[in-house]
Symmetry: C2
Subunit: 245 residues, 2 copies
């Protein structure tokens, strides 16, 4: 086994030489993010503090600047990680049920998103709750942010191909909207009619809306069994997406 076997052949610097310091760096970067994530839970995004994180990692606060050039960069890293985490979970759910019906597969994706949200409430709030004031999300967050919606779109594209999804009766749409849908179609949803695209947005909005209602306390004293509630609501929503009624 040559040391360069897992590296591109044109890599000049040998991997072994890099390891010791580089490895420590990678591990500490992870450790900082891990602690940051924990602090998010307790204080929310606005309360995320480099000094507090440094303290918990066991470093002096200025040392963290070797890893993240500013507080906002740490926040960005946590946001990207969160998007990637739900994205991965949703993609796993997508891969799971290749043989099942489209509406079942959609339902499983919705459930997986909710399960992740409940297990990582703070990170969920970070990416799908109110934006952090004074923080502007950089472009690097766009791609990870689109992973879950793309899962839904792929399932729908497949469903349309298989004839699993009924287009339903088209309603007249304003031109601007038809253009947006056309762009989306050419980008990620070939052959999916406007009616169905509209229903995908409806489903996605309802997923996030229902999770928000539940997690942000708006169902207190109204619904007791959140699991049953979410499942029932989503079952119907996915059915609607597929059948158009």
């Amino acid at each position: 086994v040559t040391p360069s076997s897992s590296e591109p052949a044109d890599s000049v610097v040998p991997t072994v030489a890099r390891t010791a310091r580089v490895r420590a760096r990678i591990e500490l970067t992870e450790e900082i993010k891990r602690v940051g994530r924990r602090h998010l839970t307790e204080n929310g995004a606005a309360g995320l503090s480099l000094r507090a994180v440094a303290r918990d990692v066991g470093m002096v606060s200025s040392a963290v600047y070797r890893y993240f050039p500013s507080r906002d960069d740490l926040l960005t890293a946590l946001i990207i990680d969160a998007y990637d985490a739900v994205g991965e979970i949703a993609e796993a759910a997508e891969a799971n049920g290749r043989t099942r019906a489209t509406s079942t597969r959609l339902l499983e994706v919705c459930e997986s998103v909710r399960a992740w949200a409940r297990a990582n409430a703070h990170e969920y709030a970070l990416i799908y709750g109110s934006p952090v004031p004074g923080y502007a999300a950089p472009v690097a967050t766009i791609e990870p942010a689109s992973r879950v919606p793309f899962v839904l779109l792929r399932l729908v594209v497949e469903g349309v191909e298989r004839g699993d999804i009924e287009p339903g009766e088209p309603a007249p749409l304003p031109r601007a909207l038809r253009t947006d849908f056309a762009k989306l179609r050419s980008l990620a949803a070939p052959a999916v009619p406007d009616t169905v695209l509209s229903r995908v947005f409806a489903l996605w909005a309802q997923v996030l809306g229902t999770i928000n209602l539940e997690m942000f306390g708006h169902l207190h004293n109204v619904i007791r069994d959140y699991d049953a509630f979410f499942s029932a609501q989503m079952r119907r929503a996915c059915e609607f997406l597929v059948t158009g009624r």
Copy 2:
């Protein structure tokens, strides 16, 4: 015109005597909230600071404590005001269209909520975004928080009475959920079947979900005409609530 004409007859203390100081108090309380609301816009709920508010009101920071016993009490007041503001707007929309079809009236309520949300983004985030970390909403917020959902429920109750709303095919629901729905029915939605209650939650979730998608930036570079998008989505959602398909 006697001074007591606008007061209950059994009010012992004459109203005139109260005015000077009491009026100043009322006005300053309002002024503090007004400034607080403005600060919310710039710094978000977590960044709302009594000191900064005091500065802008033109008081020394400790003086604010004559009006609000703590920062969290100011926050609570702002939250209640926000709920009351959307509540009022939704109720106005409800009152507007007495003669129109149920789905039209529902649509108008949805549009009114979104209009308020766009005009008061920070307050919207305060009540429907992620909860403020370390802040627990007191019971006094519950009633104002329920005003908008109750508007939707009233419209639906009326729609059912008039035969405007089709129950659709009942799906089997877990017992816990049927109990929750039954409680809600006996409280605020007589004669509204489970199928329709479920659709009310679906609509409400979709309203908030769609507004969140729009306002928290998740539709960037995907949808350009947010007005058209929201209207189209909600038109379909309200139709679904009414017809069940």
